[in-house]
Amino acid sequence: MTDRTRESGRLDAGELRRRTADLLVSCPPAETAPLDFLRARFDAGLAWVHFPQGLGGLDAPRALQVVVDAELEAAGAPDNDPRRIGIGLGMAAPTILRFGTDEQKRRFLRPLWTGEEVWCQLFSEPGAGSDLAALATRAVRDEDGTGWVVDGQKVWTSGAHQARWAILIARTDPELPKHRGITYFVCDMTDPGVEVRPLRQITGEAEFNEVFLTGVRIPDAHRLGAVGEGWKVAQTTLMNERVAIGGARQPREGGMIGVAARAWRERPGARTHDLHQRLLRHWVDAEVARLTGERLRQQLAKGHPGPEGSGMKLAFARLAQQISGWEVEFLGEDGLAYDDWTLRRPEGVDFTGRQAGYRYLRAKGNSIEGGTSEVLLNIVAERVLGLPPEPRTDKDAAWKDLPR
């Protein structure tokens, strides 16, 4: 890696360590307000080192981010809260970087990264879930032609009640086939036409929202990509979403399997042979999923992204459901209890927090959100394995003529 970076004239690990040390000297974490530190880190190009200079990065290889993170963690530096700002970091930022104007990048990326501005994603609709391109939310040019007026309804929007900005896809030309008449925008969630209603889920909490858009005005300067090219832009967002969902680095026995294994060690009286056999299978599956993710990361670090990314979310969803189901059963009488049905609006999802019953119910969403497992299997079959596509009747018809 070092040789390659030298050849291409990019920064190496030593140089990044030096710059990290400089940052720690100019802004000692103990004496600096967390937000000031994060802003200084962004301005030093140490936020996401693979981003361009001036936008929180240094055009360095992405794999070297771990070098910076390790140094800063060791120094006790504040972290931007990745759970709260996950959608901004994982989906909005890579999309803005790839399709945004210089002005958009300058305006949005810094407060997004520091966590000052939370982002949400206005994609799914009641009639457009897995068939996302069927969306009906309309955006029409306003009277003086400088912007757009948006009307429609979105759903499954996590974090909408905290968000300052949203990435939004809307239909701008119903005469065209459904994939071609869509445009991608940045929506101001403080616009008076935006109404956010909590959507209560099977866990009792309202992690998601319904969002009603009524006469929402979006300046044309907040369009991402060309008019009618929104589907292409959205692909970048969705690709990054799936990587973000399946891609967190884990130690052995990290995540849910660790919780299950600890429960097993702590409750010898609840052990049965059947539960033992099943736990061992889950343990093996979790360890292999961890290794598969690690192998994917090693491929990425070498600049050879493998297709495994498409599959990691599938594996993650199946594991989470199996392990949480196992745990409720293992807990027996305690598994009959639930910790709290209060309608809460959590800031993020914690797949090891709360209690087994919560994890069991929340994990039901893992195979639905961010692309259902069925859709992902189709994607793997067609794009990775090259199998023939499903026959389709809606591909070339105008959106307005499709049955709804």
Binding site: P251, R252, E253, G258, A261, R262, W264, R265, E266, R267, P268, G269, A270, R271, T272, H273, H276, Q277, L279, L280, R281, W283, V284, D285, E287, V288, A289, L291, T292, E294, R295, Q298, Q299, K302, G306, P307, E308, G311, L314, A315, E333, D334, A337, Q355, A356, E374, L376, L377, N378, V380, A381, E382, V384, L385, G386, L387, P388, P389, E390, P391
Partner: protein, 393 residues
């Protein structure tokens, strides 16, 4: 989380984390080695030629073994250069096994170049009794087998069924020894005058009888070895012998995962290729969602099996303390993936998948036999229960 019911058990420590980050990719020299082995196997004509060769009645494909083992030097990958080998590691041997699995090649690579060689490497390698047979096997000048039943899992070493007297004469019987009929040299664990010991026996010596059975897997034939006062040369005694045999079984089980990966890969690739072409109801059958999802799910399992198999190979190559966990995980995971891939291959091929002339059955038979070889998935999970502290009730 509510408190545990009843008296709280003492909190046991979580299992140790693997020491260093494993390298789960393939290096350039490894890819070169793969290309060379694949090209040699392709020249031999692939699975169709394997099928024809099986009818010949030979114990293994000598026409493939010689160029592979001696010509390319793959038999000596695990042997240090000063002992006559290539000085490579389990990582390279794993790549060879992936390709042999993909070709369901009937050669004694796992048995001779992995199991027998590692057993010898576990003995004292400054003694000529050890170095001479090691050099011969490393050079591909002969085939050796470790005389233990193929289903033996690492860590479950059975008491020897062979007795050695003070003169080094061996008497007894070992069943289920894979490739024994192909072997020039038998490495026989025996109960000797000083306890557990490992002996070398020439397969052609007096008092040695090797009787192959009718095998499920036509490409790796287990045989019964009967010894009646056969002359053995002592290779190692007691703890050294036990460690040598256990180490060989661990390496064999870990590298078998790579063979299983190769089997699964061929089955998936062929199934995708066939279903994309075969038309029914006016469409390629591979365009039906019910079939696509099965193949996509299998792809994910194969991609995961690769990570598990690479991890085992890397752990064996670096010789770290995590190797037993890495091997048990790889075997518990890869063995069923290979079987499922072969079963799906047959089902999704429809009628042709049930025929003798299509090679799919060779892969199914190998995959199913591999599931038993060197410990079933259940035995490896039981080993993990100890290793990672998930104790049985």
């Amino acid at each position: 989380m509510t408190a545990p019911s009843g008296a709280a058990a003492p909190t046991e420590p979580a299992p140790a984390q693997p020491g260093t980050d494993p390298d789960l990719l393939y290096s350039e020299p490894e890819e070169d080695l793969r290309a060379a082995v694949r090209s040699l196997l392709a020249d031999r004509g692939g699975p169709a030629a394997v099928l024809a060769d099986l009818e010949s009645g030979r114990a293994y494909d000598t026409g493939l073994w010689r160029p592979l083992a001696a010509g390319m030097g793959t038999a000596g990958l695990l042997v240090p250069e000063k002992l006559g080998g290539q000085g490579a590691s389990a990582r390279e041997a794993a790549v060879v096994l992936e390709e042999l699995g993909r070709a369901v090649a009937p050669v004694p690579y796992l048995t001779s170049a992995v199991l027998a060689v590692t057993a010898l490497l576990g003995c004292e390698t400054d003694r000529p009794e050890v170095t001479a047979p090691l050099a011969a096997l490393a050079a591909g000048r002969g085939v050796g087998v470790l005389a233990v039943p193929l289903p033996t899992a690492p860590g479950t070493l059975p008491e020897p069924s062979v007795r050695a007297d003070a003169d080094g004469l061996l008497t007894g019987e070992v069943t289920g020894v894979a490739d024994a009929a192909a072997a020039d040299m038998l490495l026989v664990p025996a109960d000797g005058p000083y306890g557990y010991a490992l002996y070398a026996v020439d397969a052609s010596a007096g008092g040695v009888r090797v009787a192959p059975g009718v095998p499920l897997d036509l490409t790796r034939v287990p045989a019964r070895i009967t010894l009646d006062r056969a002359a053995g040369r002592l290779l190692a005694g007691q703890d050294t012998a036990r460690a040598a045999v256990t180490g060989a079984l661990l390496t064999g089980a870990g590298l078998l995962a790579s063979e299983q990966l190769g089997i699964a890969e061929w089955c998936l690739t062929e199934t995708v290729r066939y279903t994309a072409q075969r038309t029914q109801f006016g469409r390629p059958v591979g365009s039906f969602q019910a079939l696509k999802h099965r193949m996509a799910a299998l792809w994910l399992d194969v991609a995961s099996a690769r990570a598990a198999a690479r991890n085992a190979a890397d752990a064996l190559a670096t010789g770290g303390p995590d190797a037993p966990v890495a091997v048990a995980v790889a075997q518990a995971y890869c063995a069923p993936v290979a079987v499922r891939a072969a079963e799906e291959c047959i089902q999704l091929h429809g009628g042709i998948g049930m025929t003798w002339e299509h090679p799919a059955h060779l892969f199914l038979k190998r995959a199913k036999a591999d599931e038993i070889a060197l410990g079933t998935p259940g035995r490896h999970r039981a080993a993990l229960a100890e290793l990672v502290d998930i104790p049985a009730p």
